[in-house]
Amino acid sequence: MLNKAIADIILDYSGLRSTISQLDDDTDLYSAGMKSFASVQLMLALEDTFDISFPEHMLTRATFRNPAAIEQAVNALKMRSAA
């Protein structure tokens, strides 16, 4: 079950709120129409909300491909900042 805060941010910043009816863990956001610059805005919104910073090696398409990948990345970075 996807974290609701993450799901909301994805819908707000991916530019897909009006085009996808349901967000599943494995919804491919790029196939659904998320543009490059939207993924940048999504990345910045996740950083602001969760007080995390994506390291350079995570700034790839794969990190933001679907909600499950995003949640996994956010959780990993939250763990790191808490440590």
Binding site: F37, S39, V40, R61
Partner: protein
């Protein structure tokens, strides 16, 4: 004469093709850098600012000769040739999205907007060796960062595209604020572009066709090159992600040639803009769908420099077939 295959090449997704260097890069005079040799020979004229040079007649002859080749190769494409000054409107630049990605490269045009008192203050500052630019105001103009930027609003004003799309041929001086001692990284340089608007299939075919043509041209000019996936110099951390997108999707390919450095220099780029400019300017196909755009850009100074680097600073000594092709 180079022969150009009129058949439109495969429209399949572009896969990077690597070409081995066909010849060794000539050794440079160890005592002088390439830029010092270019200035010493008179080909480039120093202004005292890195990346801003005058060019002599021989340099301009080579640029003109290369332009003639491009014109000949692209002649059958039905392109409309248009020309703009190297300055564009600030609001068009804003709409293009350039500031999102390349804020540090933009040159803006500022001007004195004061009255007599302000003028006296300006001259006093100048006399005192102070900063006379503090009261300069931004105008509604910026320096054109890429030759095709003024084209998109013009295209949009023409209305929806015909079935066959539209193709334009454009050349302009461009400005990018990145001072460097590398003569191949000028702040003011010329881009010759063919720009295509149409369906994604039309853009893919156009890009493939120009990659094939560029290979033939460089082979005939006896220049060593590779065509490799590339990315634009997007700004900042957000830019890292933009670069990753561009690379992973193969949206930018560059033809690179060793010029002044061991690291080869991008001399031609083949760009798929996807719907970026079509969204910005609402450029649509005949059926009302958003169009796609793409362009091929030749860096004219870089190609001239590559020719001087590989064939020598004196064009009299260049291979006869290269001179013939350039009609020099």
């Amino acid at each position: 004469m180079i022969s150009i295959d009129p058949v439109i090449a495969s429209v399949e997704r572009v896969t990077p093709v690597e070409y081995p260097h066909q010849c060794r890069v000539p050794k440079m005079d160890a005592k002088l850098s390439f830029v010092e040799q270019l200035i010493g020979s008179g080909l480039l004229i120093s202004t005292g600012v890195d990346g801003l040079y005058g060019r002599n007649a021989m340099f301009e002859d080579v640029v003109a000769g290369f332009q003639r080749i491009v014109t000949r190769v692209g002649a059958g494409d039905g392109a409309d040739t248009v020309s703009f000054p190297p300055t564009m409107t600030r609001d068009q630049l804003e709409t293009s999205g350039y500031l999102k990605n390349f804020p540090r490269l933009l040159g803006t045009v500022h001007s004195f907007c004061g009255h007599d008192d302000d003028h006296r203050a300006l001259l006093a500052q100048l006399d005192a060796g102070g900063d006379w630019t503090l009261d300069q105001r931004a105008t509604d103009l910026v320096l054109t960062p890429a030759a095709c930027y003024p084209l998109y609003p013009m295209m949009a004003a023409l209305g929806s595209l015909p079935e066959e799309g539209r193709t334009f041929d454009i050349c302009s001086f461009c400005f990018r604020r990145e001072p460097s001692r590398d003569p191949a990284r000028m702040q003011h340089f010329r881009q010759r572009e063919y720009v295509r608007a149409g369906t994604s299939e039309q853009i893919a075919a156009f890009r493939q066709r120009w990659m094939d043509r560029a290979r033939e041209i460089m082979d005939a000019l006896r220049l060593p090159y590779e065509i490799v996936p590339a990315n634009d110099p997007f700004f900042g951390r957000a830019g890292k992600l933009m670069k990753a997108h561009q690379l992973e999707q193969g949206l930018k390919m560059e033809l690179t040639i060793p010029v002044a450095n061991v690291e080869p220099t991008a001399c031609v780029s083949f760009n798929d803009h996807r719907e970026n400019f079509a969204v910005a300017w609402d450029i649509r196909l005949a059926n009302g769908d958003l169009a796609r755009t793409g362009c091929v850009g030749f860096g004219l100074e870089r190609i001239a420099l590559a020719l001087f680097r590989h064939h020598g600073l004196d064009i009299e000594a260049w291979p006869a077939d290269v001179r013939d092709l350039l009609t020099l």
